[in-house]
């Protein structure tokens, strides 16, 4: 029993140790790394991906996957940009982004739970549809020029902390509470462990399954708000490939793709590891093309290490 506890501690600490080791190496290589400004910079850079990854964690914990988060970000971004330009109201723009994300997430959820589609197929379809609609809506041209009150979500500060970081931290705090302390969180884990057993316990599995995709969609809408405000433009190609970064953050954070196992804190660490690697390689002047290679290797290494500790 002690051994399993120890194993558990080690496993949850594995990615933390990786992050600390990485940071130590980088702070030796360049004095620019370990400064408050740079750390805030890394956090701000990972905020959008980490918000997507938080939603992705819910989905993957149930044993599903959401490939559409990047495209949902793109479509929500241009829609809220359009709303903003037409109405001039940041409030309406924010509502448009969130509710469109919720609608797409709900569609994903219903297709998976009621339509019995494999999550991979349902969200792959949604990925193409949302991206296509983003281009249709904008005719391929970015929508830009937003009032300062809206740009606050991407470029503002509360005290000395950038707003995107505060939003991401709030998302993770709430997600931590939901996953570890609520009945919904329990069912997310039990769905991913044994769906039949969950249903036989009288739990409305379709309902809860729909909800995880809904959560992912809403968070994609939220990420769209931060992203659009930050780059001051609603671009139809925004968020392209972000779904893979989000999934990578979840996996590096120790969540099992087969579901039932993992933590939201792990995902946060996973997103940070990716951010630190990108930032660090930039600081030491590594060719950006090589960064992709390094990130890929880290994903493979993280999963290998994870399986090792699980087997022992």
């Amino acid at each position: 029993m002690n051994q399993t506890n120890l194993g558990k501690v080690f496993k949850s600490l594995g990615s933390v140790i990786g992050l600390i080791g990485l940071s130590l190496v980088l702070s030796f290589l360049t004095p620019a790394f370990l400064t408050v400004n740079n750390i805030l910079n890394v956090l701000r850079q990972v905020s959008v991906i980490s918000i997507l990854a938080a939603g992705e964690t819910f989905v993957i914990l149930t044993g599903g996957i959401d490939l559409s988060v990047g495209s949902m970000l793109g479509l929500c971004g241009v829609m809220l940009a359009g709303t903003l330009n037409r109405t001039g109201s940041p409030l309406l723009a924010v509502l448009a982004g969130l509710s469109l994300g919720a609608l797409m997430g709900l569609t994903n959820g219903v297709l998976v739970s009621k339509g019995k589609l494999p999550p991979f197929c349902a969200t792959l379809g949604m990925m193409a549809i949302a991206r296509g609609l983003a281009f249709v809506y904008t005719q391929g041209r970015p929508i830009s020029g937003f009032p300062q009150s809206f740009r606050f979500f991407g470029t503002g500060y509360l005290g000395s902390i950038p707003v995107p970081i505060i939003i991401a931290l709030a998302v993770f705090t709430f997600a931590y509470y939901v996953l570890s302390q609520t009945v919904f969180g329990r069912y997310v884990y039990s769905l991913g462990s044994n769906e039949t057993a969950t249903r036989m316990s009288g739990i409305k599995t379709d309902y809860y399954k729909t909800w995880v995709y809904l959560v992912s969609g809403i968070l994609a809408g939220l990420a769209a708000i931060v992203f659009t405000a930050r780059i001051n433009s609603g671009h139809p190609a925004a968020g392209e490939g972000y779904e893979l970064d989000a999934i990578a953050a979840v996996v590096i954070g120790g969540t099992s793709l087969s579901g039932g196992e993992g933590t939201i804190i792990g995902t946060f660490i996973g997103a940070l590891i990716m951010g630190v690697i990108r930032n660090g390689l930039n600081l030491v002047n590594v060719d950006p093309f090589w960064q992709q290679v390094v990130i890929g290797a880290v994903i493979i290494f993280a999963v290998l290490a994870d399986q090792r500790t699980k087997r022992s």
């Binding site: 029993m1 509470y177 039990s190 991913g192 316990s201 196992e261």
Partner: protein, 256 residues
């Protein structure tokens, strides 16, 4: 509610057909409170079909089911569970990644309010209640925070049984409960069945291992090709006779 003379469960003339195949043909049986009934038969004898009718997985084509003396219609597994009929299949209905007490409370979690406003899971309460039911049934599990995947087959079986008992199962149906277990573990599960029986829970046990069934069952019901071919009190029969009934070799010894 029920005295010892009213059957807890009574099925009457149950017929279940699959296309042209009659899987269960006019089978009747009773189970009394606290009684352990062994349901025996070769592969394809209709045991599982009969059990699935009782647990709400299948609807019978003919026949009636009475529970605690009242006629009932069991349309789905939830109906059965609400009545107090719990069926435990070999692939146990537990979530492997959740710990022991989370499984015992799965679907019926206890929630408390933090600072009077924020609902949170009441881990302490669920753990304490689980500890009580386990010790009540004489089950030893090192830590209730252990995840199910770290438990042995017998311990998992015990957790699944305690879960049913905690939620007031009156009739437990165990499908091959000892099939995947080592010898010591088999004994523990059989002891647990005895404990349940002594506490008034009725048990139907399906098993290929005649030896196990003879150890715990009060009464044996034998099916062959969808029909009931015999019913014996355990102390008045022997394995040879039962095997004869199961395979149909022995038609002399007064099967009806």
């Amino acid at each position: 509610m029920t005295d010892k003379n009213t059957p807890l469960l009574e099925v009457k003339d149950i017929v279940k057909r699959f296309g042209g195949l009659v899987a269960v043909n006019r089978v009747s049986m009773e189970v009394y409170p606290g009684e352990v009934v062994g349901l025996l038969g070769d592969n394809g004898a209709g045991k599982s079909t009969l059990i699935k009718v009782v647990s709400g997985v299948y609807q019978p084509d003919e026949g009636e089911i009475y529970f605690e003396g009242e006629k009932v219609k069991i349309n789905n597994p939830m109906d059965a569970i609400k009545l107090g009929i719990e069926t435990l299949y070999q692939d146990l209905a537990l979530a492997e990644n959740l710990n022991v007490y989370s499984n015992i409370f799965l679907g019926r979690e206890k929630v408390k309010n933090l600072l009077g406003a924020i609902p949170v899971l009441d881990h302490e309460y669920m753990m304490e209640e689980s500890r009580k039911v386990l010790s009540h049934l004489g089950i030893e599990i090192p830590s209730l925070k252990n995840r199910i995947k770290n438990l042995s087959g017998g311990q998992r079986q015990s957790v699944a049984i305690s879960r049913s008992v905690y939620w007031n199962a009156k009739l437990l149906i165990l499908d091959e409960p000892t099939a995947a277990l080592g010898v010591t573990e088999q004994k523990k599960v059989l002891n647990l069945v005895r404990t349940l029986s002594s506490q008034g829970v009725a048990v139907i046990i399906i098993s290929h291992q005649l030896y196990d069934v003879f150890q715990v069952a009060h009464r044996l019901v034998v099916l062959r090709r969808g029909e009931k071919v015999g019913e014996r009190l355990t102390k008045e029969t022997n394995p040879d006779e039962i095997v004869g009934l199961m395979v149909g070799a022995e038609l002399v010894e007064g099967s009806k």
